[in-house]
């Protein structure tokens, strides 16, 4: 379906003033492909695609792999899954209409999930029964995925469902909270990585094999010039020749050829290894297997008594076939492919021995794979499904064991009993973020995060975030550094500061993450293209002159002598659509290898194909795109545009602009600004800024208060910040339009004068115009949620909402707000100490009600009281039920705030500042038109920060204001300063953007011209009202009797260790005593001078006397320590003496 809204962006005339009829030049207008791409792919398409792939393909594969449940007791019995599919999201408590909307789930604290159905076939008695539709659990559904009710909905249909059309989706709703499964970055699986430690003389080639059944890591390692195989199942390193022999390559000559070819240097290096093997007396495969078998760790418990103990040969065969390098399949004990694989690993080690430059770079993005929601869910589901089947089998066995059954055995009933297992497992994992899978020994925490709804940008930024498995605490620079191979794939600016710097990354605008593609058709194509099967070829040929080995997903399968032609042929097929567009192919000349990748998790991006020095996308195509005759997918299927992954991108010659195309160019960039991500794309003229400033803005853009979604007033979030009058920026970027930030902006266009004013603007402080604040500048709202559930207790009693307490016919003061229903009414002002929900809890929640054990029927008040120092208004009151049918009460309160001293503001260039003073309009400088600035910014903010982009934003913004249109500050493009200067001149302003200002205080002109114009300012969430705190006296902690900590507990202000050190150094002992004891936890104790123990009431219990008891002041914490020591049988005696002896 054609979505009018999306096309609209394309047709808008203000894209450099172009409309349908305007002439098109490929050089200028090829960016039109970008909105077309985003229309098809969207910003969070990687999540949604991955989830769709899981639901539609993976799920079926998992069930296919585990389709039979058999019984150990009854051989005839079987239960077979014939199909699996996911329904559409529905209510558990279906009453009539059972389709559920995401917003209902948010409001009612429910899980947005759809039932998973299977078709089964099983034995009942003597007959085979088929059940076509059995629910086995509920799967949380990703919003906007194919199973979501929002998929393919138009904007108006979304409005009916109370959903924001601009919301990206790609997250889950579990128990009412929005959860995102972050993209995880990992080293790629099933690929050989060669590393070296030159100091120790160690070179190792390692491979992490991963299949559905098993995960293992194998090493080929060079130690003291000899090469060994190392693996977890082996007790010790095994000489490599021995391993190859065990795999059936018994001839030393053949081994030598497979490993070193006919290269004398490599042959010499490798030959020592034969000695090693010969010394051990291993010559045949049988001997090798015996040797190996003896060194295999037996971790498996003997399964039952029936299982036979295997001999060493069998152990070794088993390990070689299915544990070591598991991802290379061994069919019918044909070890040839695996032997070849090992031989290649050895060869890589040999190559690295000679040339240390041949090591692989772990940080190279081509060696990384991204794990998405779908993959993680499929692991989880597989685990749960297997456990489900296992439990089912145990249950069935238990019943079938019984010789006489009263009823005919029906396995279906047993399935129903386990119904909740999968549902709960999924929910638990997503809501806690703990991915604990026993099978893969995977124990990952923090996989999911609550979707940050601080602003539209923060939500969007979270969806493009990539977290690394790397440890944060380690101080290494390698993984954190910006890799050249990240170009165009990951945003160079958007990364947090501090410990996670460089480890948490964000996707660039046009990236896509691949899903798994079938290998088999690709292999077929390889042979169709004339490559020879590698299994049949000797090492002499494999490493011969001009021969290139073809690897598919890291496994060698074929050989070609015309790699370039092969590559071109393969690409031609891909451009024709004969293989998936996400299959990548590239040549590695160092390794004499052609690599083809079809695996999932590769990052890739679209580029325009260049053939014979000409871009394949021409003006004609772009014209058709604008008219809507062509879609982005048509560009793909016609081979005008193709996806390149990192490896293939690094094997290509990509021109950035059409004018840069030369005869060797293979591709053309669609638009250079797509190297930035969605968040960095908000910055105008980022290419003129000092790079860290862009990074700072990326962090701050997420804290800006603005509009968060079109349904923002229909949501009840724990904490929600909204701006009353948000504006779209005067200087926008193409990215802003594409991510629709101009529809949900977070900031206002402030007229800024860059000048010094009053001294209240030092250290980045801002001067605000009071009249601007009066008129609504920086005004924001804070919504808070207060929720409670009316619980049911085991004895049948439950919480209730009670009546307000009345005195003389009027409600008591703190119940003044309550209506007759016991809840505060919408519109009421709630002040500190007032009750807004008059909850009551039964006094007796445990009595069974049986016999005489009635207990009381009374209730105790457990009201919810408003605690904040500043009053709020009740915005919404919601009464509903959770899935467990407990009554749910939610009250949302609202505060409207105008800017005050100390509130934090920031421009889009990492320039934050707090309000230093709010000045009268009359006191502010004004220009010839009488325009007064909203904000005065100190010019000292510029020289050291070098945010030239901010100055350009001001000039462009001013030109835009004067000419009545919006200007562009797109990265590597945007409105040119020269044009902007000319507009300013034409409108009677100075070309430089500097105006003649008159002081509002003296009425005289300012002695210099002032840089004056609009800059987009964001109000950040850090506001004084939420932080302001002071205390003289107040609550104390029960245990230590010291003042409490933190604003929320009205805590004291701590005189910390360092402050203490200062006072000690200064010698202010009395002040120290006052701060640390008298004002904190002074406590008077009675101490017996004879025994040194503490007594009470002038009496020493130890000495049974009051003779030597004296009173003394000590900190309560010290008293506590002494008593705690006492409780541990450590006696501390207090010896007292005079401070000033006579």
């Amino acid at each position: 379906m054609l979505n009018i809204q999306d096309l609209e962006a394309l047709f808008q005339t203000h894209y450099e003033g172009k409309s349908l009829t305007d002439p098109i030049s490929t050089a200028k207008d090829k960016w039109n492909l970008l909105p077309a791409f985003l229309k098809v792919k969207g910003l969070v398409k990687q999540h949604i695609d991955s989830f769709n792939y899981f639901v539609e393909v993976e799920l079926k594969k998992i069930v296919q792999a585990n389709k039979k449940v058999l019984s150990d007791v009854e051989p005839q019995f079987y239960l077979k899954y014939t199909d699996i599919w996911v329904g559409s999201p529905e209510r558990l408590d279906a009453d009539g209409e059972d389709q559920i909307t995401p917003n209902e789930c948010r409001l009612r604290d429910m899980t947005y999930a759809a039932p998973v159905f299977v078709a089964i076939e099983y034995v009942r008695g003597k007959s085979v029964v088929k059940r076509p539709r059995v629910p086995i659990g509920r799967l949380p559904i990703m919003l906007r995925s194919s199973k979501c009710v929002l998929s393919n909905k138009s904007e108006s249909e979304m409005a009916i469902l109370n959903e924001c059309p601009l919301d990206p989706g790609g997250y889950f709703i579990v128990n009412g909270t929005e959860k995102v499964i972050l993209v995880q970055e990992q080293l790629s699986k099933n690929r050989v990585i060669v590393e070296a430690e030159p100091k120790k003389g160690i070179v190792q080639a390692s491979v992490t094999s991963s299949t559905h059944e098993r995960k293992s890591k194998s090493y080929v390692i060079l130690k003291k010039d000899r090469i060994y195989l190392r693996h977890n199942v082996l007790n010790e390193d095994v000489p490599i020749v021995l391993v190859l022999k065990a795999m059936g390559i018994q001839s030393d000559h053949e081994i030598l050829l497979l490993v070193a070819g006919i290269d004398n240097v490599y042959q010499d290096d490798f030959s020592v290894n034969f000695e090693e093997c010969a010394k051990l007396g291993v010559h045949t495969q049988q001997q090798a297997l015996e040797y190996l078998g003896a060194r295999i760790k037996i971790t498996r418990k003997p399964i039952g008594s029936g299982a036979l103990k295997r001999n060493y040969t069998q152990e070794a065969l088993e390990a070689l076939a299915s544990v070591i390098i598991t991802h290379v399949p061994v069919r019918g004990l044909n070890f040839r492919p695996k032997a070849l694989y090992v031989a290649f690993m050895v060869r890589r080690v040999l190559m690295t021995m000679h040339d240390p430059n041949m090591v692989d770079d772990r940080d190279y993005v081509g060696n990384k794979r991204l794990e998405l929601a779908g993959q993680l869910l499929s692991l989880l589901f597989e685990d749960l499904f297997k456990k489900f089947n296992h439990d089912l089998k145990m249950n069935i066995d238990k019943v079938l064991k019984k010789p006489n059954r009263t009823q005919e055995f029906d396995a279906f009933e047993h399935m129903q009993v386990h119904g909740n297992y999968i549902t709960q497992g999924m929910n638990r994992a997503i809501s806690t973020g703990n991915w604990n899978l026993k099978r893969f020994k995977m124990e990952r925490a923090g996989v999911t995060h609550v979707l940050s709804r601080l602003s539209y940008i923060s939500a969007l930024g979270m969806m493009t975030r990539i977290s690394s498995q790397f440890e944060k605490t380690r101080k290494v620079s390698g993984p954190r550094a910006l890799q050249p191979s990240q170009f165009g794939m990951l945003c160079p600016s958007d990364t947090p500061e501090g410990e996670a710097c460089g480890l948490v990354k964000n996707l660039a605008l046009m990236t896509h993450i691949t899903t798994d593609d079938e290998e088999a058709p690709v292999i077929k194509l390889v042979f169709v293209l004339g490559a020879e099967d590698i299994a049949a070829i000797s090492g002499r040929v494999v490493y011969g002159q001009g021969a290139y080995i073809i690897f598919i997903n890291g496994t060698p399968i074929a050989l070609t002598r015309q790699p370039k032609q092969f590559l071109n042929g393969f690409r031609k097929f891909r451009r024709m659509g004969r293989v998936s567009e996400f299959v990548s192919i590239y040549i590695n000349h160092h390794h004499h290898a052609v690599h083809i990748a079809t695996d999932e998790g590769r990052i890739c991006r679209p580029l325009i194909v260049v053939e014979n020095g000409k871009s394949r996308v021409t003006a004609r195509h772009l014209q058709a795109l604008r008219k809507g005759e062509l879609q982005f997918d048509d560009f793909l299927s016609r081979g005008l545009v193709e996806y390149l992954d990192v490896n293939e991108e690094n094997d290509s010659n990509i021109a950035i602009y059409e004018k840069d195309i030369n005869p060797s160019t293979t591709h053309l960039e669609i638009e250079p600004f797509t190297v930035l991500g969605a968040v960095a794309g908000l910055i105008p003229y980022p290419h003129h800024n000092q790079s860290p400033r862009n990074t700072y803005q990326c962090a701050m853009g997420k804290q800006a208060i603005g509009a968060i979604a079109h349904n923002q007033f229909l949501r009840i979030d724990t904490l929600l910040y909204l701006m009353v009058y948000p504006q779209k920026p005067m200087v926008k970027t193409r990215t802003i339009e594409l991510i629709k930030y101009d529809k949900l902006p977070a900031g206002q266009n402030a007229t800024v004068a860059v000048m010094s004013y009053s001294g209240y603007d030092i250290e980045d402080a801002l001067v605000l115009n009071k009249a601007s604040c009066d008129r609504g500048f920086g005004r924001c709202q804070v919504f808070r949620k207060y929720a409670t559930q009316l619980k049911k207790y085991p004895n049948g009693t439950m919480d209730r909402v009670g009546d307000r307490h009345e005195e003389n016919g009027a409600p008591i003061k703190k119940h003044a707000l309550l209506d007759t229903d016991g809840l505060a009414a919408v519109g009421d002002k709630v002040s500190s100490g007032e009750v807004y929900i008059m909850k009551q809890t039964p006094l007796n929640t445990s009595a069974s009600g049986l016999g005489s054990d009635y207990g009381t029927n009374e209730y105790r008040d457990t009201p919810m009281t408003y605690r904040l120092p500043d009053p709020s208004y009740v915005d919404k009151v919601m009464i509903s039920q959770t899935e467990a049918e407990a009554t749910l009460l939610k009250i949302q309160t609202r505060q409207t705030r105008r800017p005050e001293l100390g509130d934090k503001f920031s421009s889009r260039h990492g320039q934050k500042g707090v309000v230093g003073i709010i000045a009268e309009q009359a006191d502010m400088p004004f220009n010839d038109q009488g325009i007064v600035p909203d904000i005065i910014m100190n010019p000292h903010g510029f020289p050291s920060r070098m945010t030239v982009g901010k100055m350009l934003e001001l000039v462009s913004g001013k030109a835009g204001v004067l000419s009545g249109n919006l200007q562009y500050g797109t990265a590597f493009g945007g409105s040119k300063v020269e044009d902007m200067g000319n507009i300013l001149i034409n409108k009677g302003f100075s070309y430089s953007g500097k105006d003649y200002l008159t002081s509002g205080i003296t009425g005289e002109a300012l002695p210099a011209y002032v840089f004056f114009g609009p800059i987009y300012y964001q109000k950040l969430k850090h506001m004084v009202q939420d932080k302001m705190h002071s205390r003289s006296r107040g609550p104390r902690a029960i245990l230590t009797r010291q003042p409490t900590e933190g604003r929320s507990r009205d805590g004291g202000l701590r005189l910390g260790e360092m402050e203490r050190d200062c006072l000690i150094a200064y010698g202010a002992s009395q002040l120290l005593l006052e701060r640390l004891m008298l004002s904190s936890d002074k406590h008077e104790v009675d101490i017996c001078e004879t025994c040194g123990l503490m007594g009470y009431q002038n009496w020493c219990q130890n000495c049974k006397s009051s003779k030597a008891v004296v009173k003394m002041m000590i900190p309560y914490a010290a008293k506590l320590l002494i008593q705690e020591l006492l409780s541990m049988n450590v006696l501390a005696r207090l010896k007292l003496e005079d401070e000033f002896p006579a």
Binding site: K770, Y873, T1002, A1005, L1006
Partner: protein
């Protein structure tokens, strides 16, 4: 005392603020404006009266521009500041919300209402007294009464329009009262207010009828009562009677050496239209030796015709060819005022109003001084 002969430059410095490429020079007047050491500039009403001029450029009802010539910047600025923040005007201050089921929150709606510029009978507005808001010292404040509070109401409910065409998507046609405008505010006179604000054009109402206050959908309604009081801009910008009041100094362009031919055309484009004219160099000028016009008879030369129109963009200073040929400045005591009224008073009245306020302030100052001396 004899006045010493002053050089051209000195005179210029006294008269003009210098406009240079990157700086503005001679910005400040002295502590005793118009006085110079060794010269007699003793103040006399006669002299002041002769020097003071007021010339109107345009005087629309709500948008006036005039030159105030012959006063010091401090005085001119005082008028500007008073106009912005001290001339009282009427605005909505208290909003009592009986019912508001619209999408727009109570506080935001109240804020919007407060900013609506009101207008009404001027005599009545002048008759209105201050309403003292309750403060911490005086928690009572004034009692709302006819002489200090104007009551307005807004009662709107949205409903479906049965007459709307099928398939209509425009909410204003589909529903009644989908948009709430400022003209829907109703005035409820009390007591003597009926005498002052009885005529249709004298009633208290929004100056702009089509300010959008809120949007409604069927079933939603707004029912509220507003109390308008007199206040000053220093308290809240809504009480400011001017959209803006400001002044600029009269631009002064001096062509020091002739600008001829193509340069003259370029020079003309450096200024807004009508500032610079092109004239032919006359025989007479060409014949004057040392004028710079020798041998340029018939060529175009640039002449300043209307510096009032100049926006002081300093564009001409950017080009090397005009270096040393032109000198820009602004006349120190020539203030081109621009007063834009929000609609409660006429612009020219407002200025007089500001003069009155200043007068009252001066009198208060004088009284305070006198009592201090005692």
């Amino acid at each position: 005392m004899p006045v010493p002969a002053l050089s051209e430059a000195d005179l210029d410095r006294r008269k003009n603020v210098g406009i240079n490429l990157e700086t503005v020079t001679h910005v400040q007047s002295t502590d005793f404006p118009g006085h110079y050491p060794g010269e007699d500039h003793s103040w006399s009403l006669e002299k002041f009266r002769n020097n003071l001029r007021v010339e109107f450029h345009h005087n629309d009802q709500y948008d006036a521009s005039f030159s105030l010539i012959g006063v010091d910047a401090a005085i001119a600025n005082a008028f500007r500041r008073i106009l912005i923040s001290e001339v009282p005007s009427l605005a909505i201050e208290y909003v009592f919300i009986h019912n508001n089921t619209s999408i727009i929150q109570d506080e935001v709606l109240a804020h919007r209402l407060g900013l609506v510029p009101l207008t009404g009978d001027k005599a009545g507005l002048n008759w209105l007294k201050w309403f003292k808001k309750p403060t911490e010292e005086d928690p009572e404040g004034s009692e709302p009464s006819d002489y200090n509070t104007v009551v307005m109401k807004l009662q709107v409910a949205c409903s479906r329009n049965p007459a709307a065409a099928r398939g209509e998507t425009d909410p204003t046609k589909l529903f009644h009262n989908a948009h709430v405008y400022a003209h829907q505010l109703t005035f409820h006179p009390a007591g003597r207010q009926r005498d002052y604000f009885s005529s249709p054009e004298g009633a208290i109402r929004s100056f702009h009828p089509n300010i959008l206050l809120a949007k409604l959908r069927p079933g939603q309604e707004i029912d509220l009562e507003m109390h308008c009081i007199k206040g000053i801009g220093a308290d809240h910008a809504k009480f400011s009677p001017v959209a803006t009041a400001s002044y600029r100094l009269f631009p002064d362009i001096k062509i020091m050496r002739p600008i001829l031919g193509d340069d003259a055309v370029k020079f003309q484009t450096c200024f807004p239209k009508g500032v610079i004219a092109l004239e032919d160099v006359t025989e007479e000028e060409a014949s004057r030796v040392g004028s710079g016009y020798e041998g340029h008879v018939g060529e175009k030369k640039a002449v300043v015709v209307n510096p009032y129109k100049d926006t002081v963009s300093r564009e001409c200073l950017r080009h090397d060819e005009f270096k040393d040929k032109v000198k820009l400045g602004r006349v120190r005591d020539h203030f081109i005022f621009h007063v834009e009224s929000t609609g409660q008073y006429d612009s020219d009245e407002l200025f007089i109003e500001s003069v009155k306020v200043l007068k009252v302030k001066c009198q208060r100052m004088k009284r305070s001084l006198a009592s201090m001396m005692r």
